[in-house]
Symmetry: C3
Subunit: 342 residues, 3 copies
């Protein structure tokens, strides 16, 4: 674990010192449960009463709360966006406690002689890199990854162990793909014929921009004719499904178990909640926010928050309400009849 | 990319020529955005106005639209089912642009001496094939696949990299399994006892028919006593979960993130939408179609389309309606009381 | 297949003999469809009429049904909890038909010299065990597993092929992890800034207790600052997502495709149905049972069964009811107005 003074942290990460420069910080933690060696942050003024009671050795704080801090005493880093500062602090911390090893190509990796590896590429044990693939400088390919023919990995991208990047698929720079990710499996396309399904070969690929992160066991299918596209800065959580020919706009984020069906177009800066489903061929405008477990069944042209979840309840209450729901349209008709009478 | 005349395509794939035989085709694409080197198709007469405006060099068309075509001019392939023709065209195209390499057994693969490999089997780097497994002629086992003891892969089946086929499990001929698929993990079976769970060992296996396709990271559990079964021609998308002892009838298709709980029996020719869930021990008749995200809580004896999704809305509207829904049964009682009075 | 007399089974597994000791048992199966070589069980007295018609050679039965058994004749094992006895019988059976091979470290495995392997550890082909990892006595690491730096596997735990156990993550004794499981991918944490996302490095790990089973392709993310925790005896089915800093209480079970968002705290002895979603930062008391596909949007302090699923219906009926649902709040107002008039 690092040991660092507040003054040294500020030298590394910026921010303005308020109070003592010399507390020694050994961990990052929440205000609640902090001790004198903990650095915490307060991003939401609603939680400001937690500050007074916290034993944290240093608190990252917005300048607007300076008076509160001065009343409490101790050591602070003032910065306009404490949560962003915290994020950068975690990055600095990770670099201290988990420094990346020097890049090496493990001798058990199977690399086609026509694959091109940039400078300082790291290839883990038993990774497979096929013909014509190109791996950008500083990229790290984890153990047991399979990089298909002619696939491209941008500079500085990291693939955790056990990622499949299919042939002809491309990911940009500084991406992070977690274990079990599958990029470029076939989209789900079949023509029905005489009671069975005739396969539509998926002739497109997947194109992924820079700074994209994809969670464990998520799947991005290749396009049928054109490519499936994730733009720069997209963040996907675990077990997310992206169908063929989907376009996901820049800096859109999707939580775990979300699914987007084929040819849907999701705008920029959207958020899709966990377990939500977007049906195929729909368009979502920029800035659309879909609540967890909501099923989007038509296009959304206006930014905003959209929801559609059955409210859960004790089972007996749910049963009664759900049963009545199956007669809801009839109830409306009965209400209408009464209104006419009245 | 292939360059081929319309006449040559017809020689390879059939269909009747209407108009010019000599346009050179270099890509397959939609009517919209096509150019003179594009072959497109029109399957749904509803979209026939797209035809007039399209610059496609050749269009696959049903004979019923011949007059429309003659009015527009250009080159056509007439065929009773344009979408099916398109599917076969993609297959022909894929064979041109991605010919399968000559089969080889990669020296890094670990193959038990008691495993039997048929003629022309391809085994990718670092695949593992365990004792007593049998791989049919022409099958292709991708890099990092694990074929368990006594497992059977039928002739001409293809396993993408990183597929697990568990011991004693069998897949038929011409199947396609995508990366991350797990066939034959234990079904989820436990006996509750004194506040904890006692494992029920899963003594069955998985039997999969011919021409089955299974999407990336999907899971088919082994049965508890008997086998879990997917019949011929079943198509599963990505991240689909099939519980132990489920039976899926021939030519049934399930979209991404669908889940079928243990011992459910799904008929032939069904479709299960993305994210839909079928509870355990239910029976669905042949020809049942379940909409996306629908939860099937009782057996369905009659073919047809079934749905059950909360309609999404702007968050504020949803909140009001959802809150009221929790009193729906009481509202019905109030309505009834009013009706009695009236 | 084993061949064993009822008397020998009782010698191995306990229980009281009723009737003949000498039927030879060759398979375990349901009452329905059993033959003279089948051992079956009857756990639920509701199904007792199946007993009379069954040809099973031996039936595991509660003593309360002794009279029924005596009337039918044949051979029985009497035991207070037939389902538990059945579970133990499957375990005994599996040990006969699938004995574990002698432990060996496959020569193709890549094991860092600083990793510590206990006595009788089995390591499959091409597994990777990184620096400082510790594998307890009798543990079995499947083919293609990746055990990260400093990760710990408890005694007697089994990892099926293709499991990722991330650096610093720990699993207890006698755990069973199925293929494709990913333990210790990054939790989904980002600070929004100027229209993009700044990564919050996930500095915690994952701690898993004893006797935990995790289904195929399930994901347990590492914590942001502290650890994600699964207590002893937790059972997770396939394709389950556990977000960062979640705590799952001992002996809680979750069915396939369930998802738990970050920092949720689930009590002991809970059950979470298939496809259910628990939102982040919620608390569920001990003994809470969530029905399949239910979305838990607020904390639950009281044990019991909770549900929230839109009842499915024929599509046309659903459409009418769903459309009306979007006006439900307005309907309530109309009802209220009528009530005032009346």
């Amino acid at each position: 674990m690092p040991k660092i003074t507040v003054a040294e942290l500020i030298a590394a990460l910026g921010g303005d010192l308020l109070g003592a420069p010399d507390p020694v910080i050994e961990r990052i933690g929440p205000l609640d449960g902090a001790d004198a060696t903990t650095i915490a942050f307060l991003a939401n003024p609603r939680y400001q009463q937690q500050l007074a009671g916290s034993a944290a050795g240093c608190v990252i704080l917005a300048p607007a709360l300076r008076e509160l801090a001065e009343a409490r005493g101790g050591s602070y880093i003032l910065t306009p966006d404490p949560y962003l500062y915290f994020a950068r602090l975690t990055q600095w911390w990770a670099a201290q406690v988990r420094p990346l090893g020097a890049p090496r190509v493990h001798p058990s990796a199977v690399i086609d002689p026509t694959a091109e590896l940039g400078l300082d590429v790291d290839v883990g044990p038993q990774a497979v890199i096929e013909a014509g693939a190109r791996i950008g400088a500083g990229a790290r390919i984890g153990a047991h990854c399979v990089i298909g023919e002619r696939a491209v990995v941008g500079e500085g991208s990291r693939l955790a162990p056990r990622v499949t990047l299919g042939f002809d698929c491309r990911i940009g720079a500084r991406c992070l793909l977690h274990s079990g990710v599958v990029i470029g499996a076939d989209g789900f396309g079949f023509a029905p014929t005489a009671g069975r399904w005739e396969k539509i070969e998926q002739l497109g690929a997947v194109r992924i921009g820079d700074d994209v992160e994809i969670g464990a066991n998520s799947c991005i299918d290749r396009g049928a004719l054109d490519d499936t596209v994730l733009e720069d800065g997209v963040k996907l959580d675990n077990l997310v499904q992206i169908g063929h020919n989907v376009k996901v706009g820049a800096h859109t984020a999707m939580a775990g178990c979300a699914g987007v069906a084929g040819s849907a177009v999701i705008g920029r800066g959207c958020t899709i909640g966990g377990g939500a489903i977007v049906l195929g061929h729909l368009s979502l405008a920029d800035g659309v926010h879909v609540s967890a477990a909501t099923v989007v069944t038509r296009s959304i042209a206006k930014p905003g928050q959209y929801s559609g979840v059955f409210p859960f309840d004790e089972n007996a209450s749910w049963e009664k309400n759900a049963a009545t729901l199956r007669q809801l349209h009839a109830l409306r008709e009965r209400l209408r009849a009464l209104e006419k009478k009245a």
